[in-house]
């Protein structure tokens, strides 16, 4: 402790590094115990907001033979202190250097966190490349949404978990224990065996060759017993399935400082830009009873004053109304509030919101995504102009005056008319506020328009699309800024340079490994943080290595091209994605697949039966 004292007293927010939070674990180390550290390549406040982190932490720690700890990227002041004192990065729980772990499991939530993975390895004196790490080094694995294009970090990570991690995490640990016990463990033998577990991708067991035009020529396993196509893992029976009885109550002002209950996985809407909507199919709900019971337990075991209904589109749960009503009835007097992530603009939302507001009044964020009906139809966001206007009036009639509207810029087929549409919608919102009877209004309204830049992602119908250039995006921002003139409408947007790099890495191939490593060595880190992001340094790195970054983001691909992630199977077929892309260009809608099956393929590829027999029959 005295040694760490020296560091902790010299850094900002020392509680990022101390552990010991309510519901965290600290176990006595016993013979044969498997040591696992969940690593989040960003700071504590960000990492502790992720639900998956809490699930995997508790799932493993509920077993006596596993001790699962946590580590986050240290902020620069802590990094400097570690280096100055010649110390390695340590786990929060037992303050152990990462090298002493059996497994280091990185979560991949966004591409701009990849240099931080290297930072964490660097501070642990662990070699960056898998091939340079021997049998005494921990196995380094990674999972999460970005694992669906593992190639840009395929030379760094030993194995990737494709899909939902609960079961497969344990299977990996069991295999490890067995091989250790039987004395057959070497890193090589372990990885080879692990590659046979469904949902595991071991990149070192595959070879890739390229065409003259730099596209992929062939991607194949190096051995016969290694699967050609890696199928994602899902939890089949989600209702009643494992959920932590308690979650860590974090220190610090974390981003989502509340308990979370995951009410379903998957989404049936089929928005064409949305990677999560494609990846997490099929939809699987927890029942109302299961959800309410788990909420009770979580509140009892944490003391949180707010709990979020978490999913990709929470109002789509078939029993959401009942969940909200029952919960509010029970917890209104105990002052426990409920929160919903961003909402679709429809009247059902307003209905539910009225109930939620009984305890705590929160701001409202609506995802409109695009400024005109045409473009909303292109992306299959099934929200109509009428939905939008009637919802907004209803909101204002019910006493809200602050609304946040969320859009994307740079979507396929977008024109300046569509961007003008965003500004118009802001203006219209203000108008609608003043159309409400004066007695129901309280002061001036505030409408915040927020735009993100569209980044085409693997396994979406837009995975072939050439992303807008930085210049194009900047022009669009300027245009929109000029068009938003009402003083009650605020506008904020994401940087184009960040989105450009995100786009490069999101659809990158194995050649990016050396780029990312070189960029880190040149000083790139915390790329998701405006104060650290250095686009020029990245461009310099690409140039140095003679790799064209725009080959990966702004280039439109052919349907026939072998994509770097084609060896992974998320259940949704390429034929479906092509069909959806074509329909987008023809401005044709695809129905919510609760209505009828749209043949995405997940039922055949992953389930081997109907997604939900009760609905489809």
């Amino acid at each position: 402790m005295e040694k760490l004292d020296k560091l902790l007293r010299n850094v900002q927010n020392p509680s990022r590094y101390i552990g010991g939070e309510i519901n965290s674990y600290n176990k006595e180390i016993t013979e044969g115990m498997v040591r696992f550290v969940l690593a989040f390549p960003d700071i504590y406040e960000i990492g502790m907001s992720y639900l998956g982190f809490q699930i995997l932490y508790n799932l493993k720690n509920e077993r006596d033979d596993i001790f699962c700890e946590r580590v986050f990227s240290p902020w620069e002041d802590m990094e400097n202190e570690l280096r100055k004192n010649d110390m390695e990065l340590f786990t929060l729980e037992s303050k152990t250097p990462l090298k002493e772990m059996d497994f280091i499991g990185f979560t991949l939530q966004y591409e701009l966190s990849y240099t931080n993975i290297l930072g964490m390895l660097d501070l642990s004196n662990i070699p960056f490349r898998s091939k340079d790490r021997d049998d005494d080094m921990p196995i380094i694995l990674a999972g999460g949404p970005n694992a669906y294009n593992p190639e840009p970090i395929a030379e760094i990570i030993d194995l990737f978990v494709i899909g939902e991690g609960e079961e497969v995490n344990i299977e990996l640990i069991e295999l490890y224990k067995l091989m250790k016990k039987e004395n057959t463990y070497t890193k090589k033998t372990y990885l080879r065996e692990a590659s046979k577990i469904e949902g595991i991708y071991v990149p070192s067991l595959y070879e890739v060759s390229y065409n003259k035009d730099k596209t992929i020529k062939e991607f194949k396993p190096s051995f016969e017993d290694v699967p050609k196509l890696i199928k994602k893992r899902i939890i089949r029976n989600f209702d009643g399935y494992y959920y932590p009885k308690k979650v860590i109550v974090p220190f610090q002002d974390v981003i989502h400082d509340r308990a979370m209950i995951e009410i379903f996985r998957g989404c049936t809407r089929g928005c064409r830009f949305c990677q999560a909507g494609m990846l997490y199919r099929p939809i699987r709900e927890r029942s109302k009873e299961d959800i309410l019971e788990k909420m009770d337990t979580l509140i009892k075991n944490t003391g949180f004053e707010e709990i979020a209904l978490s999913s990709l589109s929470s109002l789509d749960h078939s029993e959401v109304k009942g969940i909200v009503t029952d919960f509010v009835d029970k917890y209104e007097s105990k002052k426990v509030g409920l929160s919903l992530p961003s909402l679709r603009l429809d009247s059902f939302a307003v209905d539910i919101l009225k109930d939620i507001q009984k305890v705590r009044k929160t701001g409202l964020t609506f995802a409109a995504e695009a400024g005109t009906q045409r473009l909303r139809d292109v992306i299959n966001k099934g929200v109509t102009e009428e939905n939008l206007t009637s919802t907004l009036s209803e909101i204002f009639e019910n006493g809200w005056k602050r609304v946040k509207l969320y859009f994307m810029l740079g979507l396929p087929t977008e024109t300046y008319e569509d961007i003008q549409g965003i500004a118009d919608l802001g203006e219209k919102s203000i108008e609608m506020y003043y159309n409400v009877d004066k007695s129901l209004r309280k002061g001036k309204p505030t409408v915040t328009i927020s735009t993100a830049n569209f980044v085409p992602k693997p396994f979406t119908p837009f995975q072939w699309f050439g992303q807008d250039t930085v210049e194009e995006l900047n022009e669009k921002h300027e245009f929109l800024k000029e068009k938003i003139t009402n003083r009650n409408v605020n506008y904020n947007y994401h940087g184009s340079w960040e989105s450009s790099l995100e786009g490069i890495i999101a659809r990158g191939d194995r050649k990016l490994n050396e780029v990312i490593i070189k960029a880190y060595e040149k000083g790139c880190k915390f790329d998701a943080w405006r104060e650290y992001f250095n686009y020029d340094l990245w461009l310099e790195t690409f140039e140095l290595l003679n790799i064209d970054p725009y080959f990966y983001n702004t280039r439109t691909r052919d349907y026939s091209e072998i994509l770097p992630w084609d060896h992974l199977d998320c259940g949704v077929t390429k034929e479906y994605l092509i069909k959806e892309n074509e329909k987008a260009l023809e401005v044709k809608l695809t129905t919510d697949c609760r209505n009828y099956c749209t043949n995405c393929g997940v039922n055949k590829q992953i389930i081997g039966g109907d997604c939900y027999p009760e609905i489809n029959s």
Binding site: L8, R9, I18, V249, K334
Partner: protein
Amino acid sequence: MVVIVILKLIVKYEKINYAKYLAHLELSGIIQRILRRLELPLEYSSGYNPKPQIAFAAPLSVGTSSKGEYFEVRITEEFDLRKITEIDPSFLPVGIKFIDATFSTAKNSIMAIVSDASYILKITTERQYEEDDIREKLNKFLAQDEIIWEKIRRKKKPITKNIVEFINNVFLLNTNNKEMIFKINVKTGSNGNLQPDVIVKKFIEYANIELSDEFINIQRQEIFKNVNSEQVPII
């Protein structure tokens, strides 16, 4: 006439080990959740975001541990205090312990009644100093009419103040193993406030003591209120 009685729960707790790195606001949030989890009859603030109303006796710097801290919180009715004193340790972060609790209907807030606080401070020195020698120097140091301290302020001119009147007493506990340990009692709260390390820093300067490490380890021992000119622990 209606008499409104404000009922409060006062809790004495310790904040040691790594928990000393918890900032004030963080701790406040943690305590709120602990109290909610105990299902205590808390009085909530009104408004859009109802919160329990918690106040702390005296601010404690991040990095300083304490054996005697206090907070109070408004409640609607009395309950079995063993809920606090016999709380399951798993309800608390590592390093936080509830020591004692009581109810109060005092009008003044807990911050207003604080008068003094006691501390233990430890410094590590370059070489072993003679204990008697240091003790003699300390007595001379404290016998001065004036000890002038220049307080550095951010973006403002420094202010100087004579800290003698804020010092209640200072004892040298020992000087073993190239360490010096002091016990210090100082004025604290709205009627005069002094950080104890200021005294030690001034003394180091006065006695020409060479440190091996600039860091001064501080632990607060107790916070007092003034009852008939006597220092009495808050509860």
